[in-house]
């Protein structure tokens, strides 16, 4: 019933009672804690949800100062803060939702979301706060964060484990070969073998040591940060010299290396030594993919917009789509370290470029290297 000038006193009292009952029902059924204080910080309202949240009965709190529900440092700052607000109007909590902490009767400090509104009645000011206990949410977030960290840690450990196992294997094999040759050498020496008989064993040991060294060099190179020494590189010259370098081996296996270059020269800003390593690796892989000819390896270069594309295709059998050729330690070759293409990718990416592989099984494989002509973006 709305109260107006014509409303009788008894009706007005009845209406106020009804209004009071309605508000009480709202306050008691609210899921959030609702607390009102006066200017001095004295608690004037403490709803049912507040009782559940803080563990106090309303009569234990009503008439007391609000600071009993606050942990340090809020407890000490609050009276000063209210006074400051009333003098200057500069509000920290009013009109916004803040994440703060409150303290239960048990002494437990817990996180809450707090929003405060202000009502004025004459000179009196009433501050009403709505508080939501977010301990569960904070706990879940902390748990999720912890799980994510744990999972990242496990992934890192698994990576380290896999890398270590592979390094142990890659170093263990040449070491086993050296060990076996050395055991043969010792036995032959004991039997008084002629020096000429021992020469081959010595050479085999040196060969295996060379392999070990190459693996260590590759691992070192992979681990080192890719620092580029940029210069203008004439791609035609670079590709021609690589073709000449590999042609004798290729021809001994009846494999032809075909160079396809556009009429005009292609210049590229890159680290010549590292880029040469990438292309050399791809050409060597291509020859090994064909293995025995007759076959063909094609090296092709072309400018595409702001990029230069170098493509190396072979007429080998192609590759299985299940292999991540750029993955660390991925190899399909006997005695391969699985580092070559991983290093190649690292170098290309350091140049701001990309490297892709397209298997055309059973008609060979093509590797595409795309590099920005003006060098890596600064």
């Amino acid at each position: 019933m709305p109260i107006s000038k014509s409303t009788s006193v008894s009706d007005a009292i009845l209406a106020l009672g009804l209004q009071e009952a309605r508000w009480q029902a709202v306050l008691d059924s609210a899921q959030d804690a609702i607390i009102s204080i006066d200017q001095r910080g004295t608690v004037t309202l403490f709803n049912h949800a507040a009782e559940g949240m803080f563990g106090y009965r309303a009569e234990e709190v009503l008439g007391c100062n609000l600071v009993m529900l606050m942990p340090a440092p809020y407890r000490d700052e609050h009276p000063e803060y209210v006074a400051h607000y009333e003098q200057t109007g500069a509000a920290r909590a009013i009109g916004r939702i803040r994440d703060v902490h409150a303290v239960r009767k048990s002494g437990e400090v817990f996180p809450i979301e707090l929003s405060v509104s202000e009502a004025r009645y004459g000179k009196e000011r009433i501050y009403t706060a709505i508080l939501r206990d977010v301990s569960e949410r904070a706990r879940s977030q902390a748990q999720i964060h912890e799980l994510q960290q744990l999972s990242r840690q496990r992934e890192r450990l698994a990576d380290i484990g896999a890398i270590t196992a592979q390094v142990v294997h890659d170093l263990g094999n040449p070491l086993a070969a050296i060990s076996m040759q050395a055991q043969l050498l010792v036995r032959r020496l004991r039997k008084g073998a002629a020096a000429s008989e021992l020469l081959s064993t010595g050479q085999q040991v040196l060969g295996a040591i060379h392999r070990l060294d190459a693996i260590i060099q590759e691992l070192t190179s992979f681990a080192r940060e890719q620092r580029l020494e940029l210069a203008n590189v004439d791609i035609s010259v670079l590709l021609r010299s690589l073709r000449d370098l590999w042609l004798p081996l290729a021809r001994s296996r009846e494999i032809e290396i075909v160079l396809e270059l556009p009429g005009a020269g292609i210049s590229l800003r890159a680290d010549e030594h590292k880029l040469s390593r990438v292309v050399e690796n791809l050409v060597k892989n291509a020859i090994e993919a064909v293995d025995r000819g007759p076959g063909c390896v094609t090296i092709h270069a072309i400018p595409i917009r702001e990029n230069v594309r170098i493509a190396i295709a072979d007429s080998g059998p192609g590759m299985s789509p299940d292999i991540d050729v750029f993955g660390l330690f991925e190899t399909t070759k006997p005695g391969g370290t699985g580092l070559g293409l991983a290093i190649a990718k690292q170098i290309v990416v350091a140049h701001g470029g990309s490297i892709q592989c397209e298997s055309r099984a059973p008609h060979g494989t093509v590797f595409y290297v795309d590099l920005p002509a003006h060098g890596p973006p600064v």
Binding site: N173, A176, A177, M180, Q183, T331, K333, P334
Partner: protein
């Protein structure tokens, strides 16, 4: 494949099938086995072995990681299906729990870690091949 004739009459009836893609390891082990009088048939890859037509050797020594598709453990299982009684020694620079478990579960198979002492291999070969 490379073979060598027996030089030690005591062992001339022992034919060892050796499979390892590391040539340096394979040749040294072949030489040591030959010195001890075994007939050695050494191969660098599974593809070279005529498994169906192969007369049963006295023992198989195989590496685990062989390059290409099939690994030594898978080959060992296939080999065992044809030559049930022949002991197999799997040599590997891999130190995985998986291999240790696999070796423990296959009674015909022993595992030796690379690098290995030839004497250990030789002892195992005789213990398994001549009970």
């Amino acid at each position: 494949m490379s073979t060598c004739p027996p030089t030690d009459r005591r062992c001339e009836d022992m034919t060892v099938l050796l499979l390892d893609d590391d040539e340096t390891f394979r040749t040294a082990l072949s030489d040591l086995l030959c010195d001890d009088g075994h007939v050695v048939q050494a191969y660098g890859s599974i593809a070279e072995i005529p498994l169906a037509d192969l007369p049963a050797p006295t023992a198989l020594i195989t590496d685990f990681q062989l390059g290409g598709g099939e690994d030594g453990l898978s080959f060992a299982r296939r080999f065992n299906a044809v030559h049930h009684e022949v002991p197999i020694i799997l040599v590997t620079a891999h130190t995985t729990e998986y291999l240790a478990q696999a070796a423990a579960s296959l009674p015909y198979l022993s595992l030796l870690r690379k690098p290995l002492a030839y004497e250990d291999l030789h002892r195992l070969l005789h213990a398994r091949a001549q009970p």
